[in-house]
């Protein structure tokens, strides 16, 4: 190999313009070998556009890319791979019906035999895969079907695959977004191993605590512009936020001005029909209260919310609303009882990507727009959608825009507007700020608090402990399907939540 250049990757003065938008304006990214380089910025800051330029998916209008001091001309993701650049995507795309080793060597299986009669050499493939995992301290069986693996194992597999390509630069896009605390530790161990081998890791994440822990350098972007690069030890969370949003966010959470009132919802001994899911959960929710729900992945929090909304069936237990017992067997029942659910998987169970903002807003409450002959009043639909857009300051040129063209935070606002039109008493919010950038997060927090202030009762699942503490009047913590405790928001600490979340048996 050629002599080591101080920078493994240099992207100099990259500019990329789309019709009417300067997505990247003179952006620079310099990554040293054997470091974790965090790339930060709000959604829409240009991080993914920059990465797409690195992978040859986009071709920059101006600027140059150097790999280890050599000018590189990357025209496709295949070029990128051949140049030792890999990416672990936010959404992983393995082939679930095939084995781990086939997924790793897909497209470049080791062969045996003599041309033209050649077969796949399964033995060698197994040996190479096992070796690869051993080098990286990963505990995965090369013969297992990928569909049987957990998300974190699939991610490890993707990393191993990148290593098998001899990648020297690995981009990780929100790698911890669906990992439990323990799995994050395992990932960090793997990252440290790669770092020790001289691999450079470009780490994209919204989680500040994580970034300050794992990264060596931080590059911050804003509105397609390069703001700067700093060694992480010199940064604090507040400094990062301030540079990302370009304004001072003295508080990460708005002041809570809601006042909890009488009991609105009482859940008594609710047990899932699925024996592996939640058991004997009891809690009360007051009018105008924000009840946070904490716990690790697998605590069955989402399943509990989905049961309250009628998406999952319940074996025993009772739900009382306003003192009266209610039966909720479907989302239709839930709507009747004025319960709304904002699901965790916005793209999977929330938005209708090919439909407009108007249609996405109106869909849960069409009877509202019925006029004479039962026909729908289009202009009323548009007006309500416009009101929702104005109320939540959703960024969009018009309400006829397709929702898939909006950023995550703006999609979430449209979904909130959708459910508010059903005039709910109880809002179940499952990870409402997941994958949303900081500025928009703050706005969503403000909306949630305003709703509670208007007397709506809110249950909010969050995996970010600062968010739980910052937002909740009380915090219910779950572990392995049971509610292990309810903390007062005022005296909850990350430690006290963690203790309850890790409680077993």
């Amino acid at each position: 190999m050629a002599e080591q250049h101080p920078y493994l990757l240099e992207m100099n003065n990259i500019t990329k313009t789309f019709p009417g938008v300067k997505a990247l304006d003179n952006v620079t990214l310099k990554v040293r070998p054997g470091t974790v380089h965090a790339l930060m910025g709000e959604n829409g800051a240009g991080k993914s556009t920059l990465m797409k330029c690195l992978f040859g998916i986009y071709h920059p209008d101006a600027g140059e890319i150097f790999l280890n001091g050599q000018k590189a001309d990357i025209k496709s993701s295949k070029d990128a791979l051949n140049n030792g650049v890999s990416m672990i995507h936010q959404e992983l795309h393995p082939v679930p019906q095939r084995s781990v080793m086939e997924n790793i060597w897909l497209g470049r299986f080791p062969m045996k035999g003599v041309r033209p009669v050649r077969f796949i050499d399964h033995k060698k493939m197994y040996k190479d895969t096992a070796q690869l995992f051993e080098d990286l301290n990963m505990d995965i069986d090369p013969n297992q079907l990928v569909g049987e693996l957990s998300v974190s194992k699939i991610q490890s597999l993707e990393i191993a695959k990148a290593v098998s390509f001899n990648s020297r630069i690995i981009v990780m896009d929100e790698p911890t977004s669906s990992l439990t605390g323990n799995e994050v530790e395992q990932l960090f161990a793997i990252i440290n191993k790669l770092r020790a081998r001289g691999v450079a890791i470009i780490y994209i994440s919204h989680k500040m605590e994580e970034i300050l822990r794992i990264s060596d350098d931080v590059t911050i972007m804003r509105d397609g512009k390069y703001i700067g690069t700093w060694p992480s030890p010199e940064l604090t969370i507040d400094m990062i936020i301030q540079r990302m949003v370009g304004r001072d966010l003295s508080e990460r959470y708005p002041e809570r001005t809601n006042v909890p009132g009488d009991v609105m919802l009482k859940v008594d001994g609710l047990t899932s029909a699925n024996p592996k899911s939640f058991k004997d959960v009891s809690f009360e929710l007051r009018k105008g209260e924000i009840l946070g729900v904490g716990g690790l992945v697998g605590a069955q929090r989402t399943e509990l919310m989905e049961a309250l909304f009628g998406l999952r069936s319940v074996k025993s237990g009772a739900i009382y609303k306003d003192g009266k017992q209610v039966t909720i067997k479907s989302p239709i029942d839930a709507k009747k009882h004025k319960i709304a659910l904002l699901t965790e998987e916005r793209r999977v169970t929330g938005i209708f990507p090919v439909l407009s903002i108007t249609e996405n807003t109106a869909i849960a409450n069409l009877p509202l727009y019925k006029g004479p002959l039962g026909l729908l009043n289009e202009s009323k639909m548009r007006d309500e959608a416009k009101k929702g857009v104005e109320k939540f300051r959703t960024k969009t040129p018009s309400v006829s825009q397709l929702i898939r063209n909006l950023s995550g935070g703006n999609q979430q606002k449209v979904l909130l507007a959708r459910w508010l039109l059903t005039d709910p008493d109880i809002l179940l919010l499952d990870e409402p700020t997941r994958g949303i950038d900081i500025g928009a997060k703050y706005e969503i927090y403000q909306i949630i608090i305003d709703l509670a202030k208007q007397g709506k009762s809110i249950i909010m699942i969050s995996s970010e402990m600062p968010e739980l503490i910052g937002m909740s009047d009380r915090i219910m913590v779950m572990s392995e399907g049971r509610a292990t405790g309810i903390l007062d928001g005022k005296d909850a600490t990350e430690q006290s939540i963690m203790r309850l979340a890790a409680q077993t048996g």
Binding site: P19, V21, T343, G350, P353, L355, K370, E378, P397
Partner: protein, 338 residues
């Protein structure tokens, strides 16, 4: 934001591209033979398009939910036979039901449409309640409906002879027109226009229509939004079936007869017209205007190319190419968005 405006302009262009293609096609044929540009040819093409449009609109309901309906053609065949069997002239020698009294014209028509509706509802139940993929569910009914139709058609005394001798009032529905001479308007065209209008209203102005787009756009989100997905799907397949039923009646009236092989493969023409007209095979997208254009394109190819003497085999190749090219362009729109 500018970029999305651009893509909207582009999508407006691509929505209308099919009309541009249609005009170019007519212009090209006219250049080859100037006689083509006449009221008579256009009326003929509209008549030919009428039943196809009604079937294609039925298929559009299903396609927009991201489903598919292979049973369309066989339902057309079944309802053509059912309606024809009850609407033969009293003096016709080989009557399907020799002792059948004179029925009011509307009764057999309604019976045929209800038969279509029932087959559609069965499709809907299989898809929505038993979660059988639409392709398989409607493949099953397609085969079974043909069997049922053949059994009916084979009943004594008919025993699988083509049904003919239709009543004049019935035939008139398919061949008659308002007014006479150059500017006369065939009933069948008026019926198709009326159906297209009703379908437009259902697509755009009703809860069922909005739910249909939502189910096709994201079935899970539709469920979470409190839409009764199963009920909507049942009605959507049901309405589609009823439209095939109406098309079957008109097909019998227009041709003056019926056999159990009527409508064979019409579903493929209908699906082709829909996708060429911009109905997305992945669901959630499709307009009545596009379906109309899709149907017209295929009629112009069929009629126009025959008019200028191009072999029907060549027509099939051109048709096939158009289907693939249209969908390839449609898919490109989504791929580029990523």
């Amino acid at each position: 934001m500018e970029a999305t405006k651009g893509s909207r302009a582009k999508s407006i262009f691509s929505q209308n591209a099919i009309w541009i293609v249609l005009v170019l096609l007519i212009a090209a044929i006219t250049i080859m033979d100037t006689n083509f540009l006449s009221i008579t040819t256009f009326r003929d093409m509209l008549v030919q398009s009428s039943t196809r449009l009604i079937i294609a609109l039925g298929a559009a309901f299903v396609l927009i939910t991201a489903g598919t309906d292979l049973s369309a053609g066989r339902v057309v065949g079944l309802t053509a036979v059912v309606s024809a069997s009850m609407l033969q002239s009293a003096d016709y020698a080989n009557k399907f039901f020799p002792d059948l009294p004179h029925l009011p014209l509307l009764l057999p028509i309604i019976i045929a449409i209800v038969v279509g509706l029932i087959v559609g509802l069965i499709n809907g139940i299989i898809v929505a309640k038993f979660n059988v993929p639409p392709f398989i569910a409607t493949l099953g009914t397609m085969v079974a409906v043909y069997g049922a139709n053949s059994l009916y058609f084979d009943m004594p005394p008919n025993q699988s002879q083509p049904i003919g001798g239709l009543r004049d009032d019935f035939s008139d529905l398919g061949t008659g027109s308002i007014g006479s001479g150059d500017w006369s308007l065939p009933y069948i065209v008026l019926i198709a226009i009326f159906v297209a209008f009703i379908v437009w209203v259902v697509f755009n102005k009703t809860t069922l229509g909005k739910n249909m787009y939502a189910i096709g756009g994201n079935i899970q989100a539709a469920h979470v939004s409190g839409i009764n997905v199963a009920k909507c799907l049942m009605w959507i397949y049901g309405i589609a079936g009823a439209l095939y039923g109406l098309a079957g009646v008109l097909e019998a009236a227009r041709t003056g007869g019926a056999t159990n092989n009527y409508g064979n493969m019409y579903e493929l023409d209908a699906i082709a017209a829909c996708v060429v007209g911009g109905v997305s095979t992945t669901g959630g997208v499709g307009r009545v205007k596009g379906v109309i254009a899709g149907v017209l394109i295929f009629t112009v190819i069929n009629y126009g190319l025959t008019y200028i003497g191009i072999s029907p085999y060549w027509q099939l190749i051109i048709k096939g190419a158009i289907i693939v090219v249209a969908v390839a362009f449609d898919i490109r729109k989504y791929v580029a968005k990523k």
